[in-house]
């Protein structure tokens, strides 16, 4: 039996959800989350809770790829296994932060989009392109911004968590970039599957966040870190152009 899906979402873009225990309320669209304004006293706590769930989703996606692609190169499987451990540790980091600062697991709704979108991507190159090369790389930009914010707020504990996590994410993006480049050289037709996966994920992401949620695009591109993560200068320049376009729209919407 299929899990219910918000009527606004296209079932072609969303697979089955991952399991969450009874403490959690899982929602399908960003609008149904608790989206607090900047400066709200619970803003940071809600973010830790949301991010804990997102890290768990990345863990689940890496684990699923490890299970579903048993014939992949052993070296790549080792990296996926490593990513599982890293994402599990990140999940635990946020869980500890959230609980130690007075939170209760399940206190806020969480999104299930990452796992559900990847469930409709049936190629390994597509999964890595969407999860590692897109979602994780966008997270790299966000965490760079977050480290600065935490340091400015004097929250050294949080800055240390972000700093360690950022180093891990670079590794995850880099192994995916390196494998994708090798795979594309070996089998150029794989790029078609990659393009299809990216297009599907973009549709699913847009439906999840809608214009309102997408407006929260306030970070620039972390160019140095993306270089370390294996993106070429041309790719990084493309990201800069796209990101600046998004930020301009966000500023326009904000009036």
């Amino acid at each position: 039996m299929s899990a219910p899906l918000h009527p606004r979402l296209d079932p072609a873009c969303f697979g089955e959800p991952a399991a969450r225990d009874e403490r959690f309320t899982v929602v399908d669209i960003w609008h149904d989350c608790v989206n607090l304004p900047d400066g709200h006293p619970e803003k940071a706590q809600e973010f830790f809770h949301r991010q804990m769930n997102e890290e768990a989703a990345v863990l689940e996606n890496a684990a699923r790829s490890l299970w579903e692609f048993p014939d992949a190169d052993w070296d790549l499987r080792m990296w996926l296994a490593r990513q599982c451990a890293d994402e599990a540790r990140h999940t635990e980091n946020y869980r500890r932060l959230f609980v130690s600062r007075g939170g209760r697991l399940g206190q806020y709704p969480v999104l299930g989009f990452q796992y559900r979108i990847l469930g409709k991507v049936h190629t390994l190159i597509g999964r890595l392109a969407v999860q590692n090369r897109t979602f994780e790389a966008d997270g790299l930009d966000a965490v760079t911004h977050a480290i600065t914010e935490a340091r400015e707020a004097g929250d050294d504990e949080l800055a240390a968590v972000y700093d360690a996590q950022q180093a891990d994410e670079i590794v995850h993006i880099r192994f995916a970039n390196e494998w994708i480049k090798r795979e594309a050289a070996r089998n150029p037709r794989a790029l078609i599957a990659m393009g299809q996966a990216l297009a599907l994920a973009a549709r699913g992401f847009q439906q999840t966040f809608d214009r309102e949620g997408s407006r929260v695009s306030k970070y620039g591109v972390a160019e140095d870190l993306r270089t370390q993560a294996g993106f070429s200068p041309e790719e990084i320049q493309d990201f800069v152009v796209i990101t600046e376009h998004r930020r301009a729209i966000a500023r326009q919407d904000a009036g």
Binding site: A19, L59, A81, A85, A88, T91, R95
Partner: protein
């Protein structure tokens, strides 16, 4: 009499097969295990089994077998592994992994060390010792999990699986000796 090189490769390769199987089983369970705390521990231990498999797989190549040679265990042992993977209740998944599968794996590593020549086969010995060193920590982390989520502590399946594993003493499907009739027919 100690294991010869071919038998060492078969045993190390079979231990690799079990490590890969465990890695894949945990990977399968992570998305389908609801409890967040259990998901985290399983996710972290995927990498432990991957590293064990990697070390063992590199060693098989040094023992005149293929790189990452991973022969399947004997049929009775495979049957237990398949039943283990099919478990769905989180308490059973946790209980069987940490109270049956891992202690049994440790016992099989210990049996290998007792059966090989620790000097002539020193590289294997070091790999096995390093793998064994991780196992008590993994069990300890499962104890912390079960202390935090006591409802995961009671597993009806764990003790039964431990008994079945203990009874399954022959787990390596050894290849026929070189030059034997069986080998020539294979």
């Amino acid at each position: 009499m100690t294991l010869n090189v071919r038998e060492r490769a078969d045993t190390i390769g079979t231990l690799r097969h079990i490590s890969v199987f465990a890695m894949e089983t945990l990977a399968r369970w992570v998305p389908t295990t609801p409890e967040l705390e259990a998901k985290i521990v399983l996710g972290r231990h995927i990498w432990e089994f991957a590293q064990h498999a990697d070390g063992l797989g590199r060693r098989t190549h040094e023992l005149r077998a293929a790189m990452h040679y991973s022969p399947a265990p004997t049929d009775p042992y495979v049957a237990i592994l398949e039943e283990w993977r099919a478990l769905t209740a989180t308490a059973d998944r946790i209980g069987t992994l940490y109270d049956a599968i891992i202690p049994d794996l440790d016992a099989r590593y210990a049996a290998y060390l007792a059966a090989t020549d620790v000097f002539l086969d020193e590289p294997s010995v070091r790999i096995v010792e390093r793998n064994r060193a991780d196992l008590p920590r993994m069990i300890e982390e499962s104890r912390a999990l079960r202390k935090e989520r006591p409802e995961l502590a009671a597993s009806p399946a764990a003790a039964a699986m431990a008994r079945r594993l203990a009874a399954c003493t022959e787990y390596v499907s050894f290849r026929a000796p070189v030059g034997s009739t069986a080998e020539r027919l294979a």
